[in-house]
C-alpha cells in the first residue's frame, strides 16, 4: 500500500508540467542537434520577404536573421513549438508554411479531400449510368441493325 502511494506520488511529480523532472528531461540542443532543429523550424516558417519560400530555402538577408533568431531561441532552451509561437505572435499564422489544422484554415486541409471524395462519387455515378447502355449495345449488334463483317479467314 505504502509502495503504491510512493509510486503514485513519483508519477504525479514526474508528469506535472514545469516539474524539475520535465525541466531536466528537455535537454538544450547543441552542435548537430541544434543545426538539425534550426533547419527543421526554418523549413516550417515562411520567409517574410520572398513569401513563397521557406526561411530555410530563402536567400534574403532577413531570412538569415530569422534563422539566427530560431537558433538563439532553441539554444536558450525553447522548444520548436515555442519558437514558432514567437514568430506567429509577430507575423500572425501567415508565417507558418502549413496552415494550422483548426478553425477556418482547417478548410484548407479538409476541402481537397472532400472535393476528391465528391469527385469520386460523381465519377462512379456517371460511369454506372453509362456502362449498362454500352453493354447492351455490344451484346446484340445485329438487333440494332449494325452490319457485321465476316472475320478474316472464315470465307
Amino acid at each position: 500500500m505504502t509502495r503504491g502511494f510512493a509510486l503514485a506520488a513519483i508519477l504525479v511529480w514526474a508528469t506535472t508540467p514545469g516539474s524539475a523532472a520535465q525541466q531536466t528531461a528537455r535537454s538544450v540542443p547543441t552542435g548537430k542537434e541544434l543545426d538539425a532543429l534550426t533547419e527543421q523550424v526554418a523549413s516550417e516558417l515562411r520567409c517574410p520577404v520572398c513569401r513563397s519560400l521557406s526561411v530555410r530555402d530563402s536567400q534574403a538577408a532577413l531570412a538569415r536573421e530569422v534563422e539566427g533568431v530560431i537558433r538563439e531561441r532553441l539554444a536558450a532552451g525553447e522548444s520548436p513549438e515555442e519558437v514558432k509561437a514567437y514568430f506567429v505572435s509577430k507575423y500572425g499564422e501567415w508565417i507558418l508554411l502549413a496552415p494550422p489544422k483548426r478553425g477556418f484554415t482547417l478548410l484548407v486541409w479538409v476541402l481537397p479531400l472532400a472535393a476528391l471524395a465528391l469527385g469520386g462519387i460523381f465519377l462512379v455515378v456517371i460511369l454506372r449510368n453509362w456502362l449498362p447502355k454500352g453493354r447492351e449495345a455490344v451484346a446484340d449488334p445485329e438487333e440494332e441493325g449494325w452490319a457485321v463483317s465476316p472475320v478474316d479467314g472464315e470465307s
Partner: protein
C-alpha cells in the same frame, strides 16, 4: 432535375462564391497581430552617437516608428512626408524614430544628409527589432500611443493625410481603434540595394 445536376450546380456556385470572396480581399495586405498590443521593447544604438535608446525612454507621448533603408525607393518617396510631419508635430510632444533596416550606418548617414530629417535614427544591426515588430520589408510605419499600445501599422509609403489623421488622433487620445493600412503591394522596390 437529377441529383447529379444539382451536385454540379452546387459545386460550381460554391467555386464562384469562393473566388468572388478571394477577389474582395487584398492579397498584398496581411493583418498584424501586433496592432492593439504592447509595443515590443527595444534598446538600439543611435546613428552616429555613442549611446542607446530604449522604448521606455520614449513612452508617455505618441511615437511614430518608421523602418527604412537607403536602398529602398519607396522610402525616398515617403521621406518628404516624414519631414513635413516632423516639422509640424515635433514641437507638440510627438516623438519620431527611424529604425535603419538592413543597411550600413554610412549609407544611412548619407541618406539623412541628402534628404534631411532631424529625428532620432536608430540602428538595428541584426534586424532583431525588425523581427520583433514583424516587419516584412520597408518602409513600414508604426503609430504608438502614449500608453505604449500600437494603434496602427502602415505598410508602404505614408501620406500627409494619413500622418495628420493618425498623429492627431493619438494626440487627442481618440485613435484607440486597432487598424492597419497598406499603400501598395508588398513586392517592394528592394532591387536597388
Amino acid at each position: 432535375m437529377k441529383w447529379t445536376n444539382w451536385l454540379s450546380m452546387i459545386a460550381v456556385i460554391s467555386l464562384v462564391v469562393l473566388l468572388a470572396f478571394g477577389l474582395t480581399r487584398r492579397s498584398d495586405f496581411l493583418p498584424s497581430p501586433l496592432v492593439g498590443e504592447t509595443t515590443p521593447g527595444f534598446s538600439l544604438p543611435v546613428l552616429d552617437e555613442d549611446r542607446t535608446v530604449s522604448l521606455d525612454e520614449l513612452q508617455g507621448r505618441p511615437v511614430v516608428v518608421n523602418f527604412w533603408a537607403s536602398w529602398c525607393l519607396a522610402c525616398i518617396q515617403e521621406h518628404p512626408v516624414l519631414v513635413r510631419a516632423w516639422e509640424r508635430y515635433a514641437g507638440q510632444g510627438v516623438e519620431m524614430v527611424g529604425i535603419v533596416y538592413q543597411d550600413t550606418p554610412a549609407n544611412a548617414r548619407r541618406y539623412i544628409e541628402k534628404y534631411g530629417g532631424g529625428w532620432l535614427q536608430l540602428l538595428d544591426p541584426r534586424s532583431r527589432a525588425a523581427i520583433d515588430f514583424g516587419v516584412y520589408g520597408v518602409p513600414e510605419t508604426f503609430f504608438i500611443r502614449p500608453d505604449g499600445i500600437i494603434a496602427h501599422k502602415h505598410l508602404g509609403p505614408v501620406t500627409d493625410t494619413l500622418m495628420t489623421e493618425l498623429i492627431e488622433g493619438m494626440m487627442e487620445g481618440t485613435n484607440t481603434s486597432d487598424a492597419e493600412s497598406a499603400e501598395f503591394p508588398l513586392e517592394r522596390e528592394e532591387t536597388t540595394q
